[in-house]
Subunit: 150 residues, 2 copies
DNA sequence: TCTATTGCTTGAGATGCTCAAGCAACGCCG
DNA sequence: CGGCGTTGCTTGAGCATCTCAAGCAATAGA
């Protein structure tokens, strides 16, 4: 990989870049979701569940909205059999929302249809992709940096 | 900066990381917007306008939604004097939406209140921030890579 | 047990969103 | 010039999303 020369961005520039990036990603995402006949909120919810099942409460926290909101979204997803409510065995108040097989396929199909994002990622080489994956993990997922060979 | 060792993520892993990252960003963003008394859509619209004024049509394209949708959002933003409609001098059909000073301050205030994101960015050093800024630009803004010193 | 808390749902009211329809301004072409 | 298709925005209908307040069932703690 080449040594690169960059100017250091200010914090405000970086925030603006994040906002622009998010805007671009979200546009691509919601168009892909619409292709699958889903709203952005529904697709976002499916996406969260792709990693692991979650309770209604956990979904509300992750999506930063009121729990009553999740009730309606999950109602509609359940009606389409993309998702299933399962009463928690350890706490009968809790309902765990689980993706059905059709639900998993839908998430994958939506991600596959994000043509703009895919094309952009294709323009990166493996090393850049690795760096991006790592940096995003550290910023948004609280991951530690990779092993350092200093 | 240290030489680092990373494993190469698959495309699917990278897509999932992007989804998680934007989920995290969106949560932080919409909480900050709510602090300012704005919905996520309203705040997103203001954010787009922070870079430059745009016509209703351009906003609809950028936000990947119907133009009639923008009418309502801009109506409400205008009612709060965060935004102004200006008839284009070159095409009287077109209305350019421009941020007021209060609007600019609101965007900046929202970005400043994104504590989770700020804290995460603070954990990066300057070099990492530069790399992140560059990679996001190449993926989502169609920017070319930085000058290479290979 | 009694009580406070937690997880989910319901209903009301505002906003977001898409579609179809409509008006005004533009552009082109005869 | 005059006609005519196109474009930019708005309106209205209909449903989804979202917040808030209220309510019920199950849990946890005293």
């Amino acid at each position: 990989m080449a040594e690169t020369i960059r100017t250091i961005p200010t914090k405000a520039q970086l925030m603006e870049r994040l906002a622009d990036s998010f805007s671009g990603y979200y546009g691509d995402f919601s168009l892909a979701a619409a292709d699958a006949g889903l709203s952005a909120s529904q697709a976002k919810t499916l996406g969260v569940l792709r990693t692991a099942p979650a309770s209604m409460r956990a979904l509300a926290t992750t999506l930063a909205c009121d729990a009553s909101n999740i009730t309606g979204i999950v109602d509609r997803l359940e009606k389409r059999e993309l998702v299933r409510r399962e009463v928690s065995p350890t706490d009968r108040r809790v309902k765990n929302v689980v993706l059905t097989t059709a639900g998993e396929e839908t998430v994958d199909a939506i991600r596959a249809r994000m043509h703009t994002t895919h094309a952009a990622l294709d323009a990166l080489d493996d090393a850049d992709r690795a760096v991006l994956h790592d940096l995003l993990g550290r910023v948004f997922c609280g991951a530690r940096g990779p092993r350092s060979a200093t």
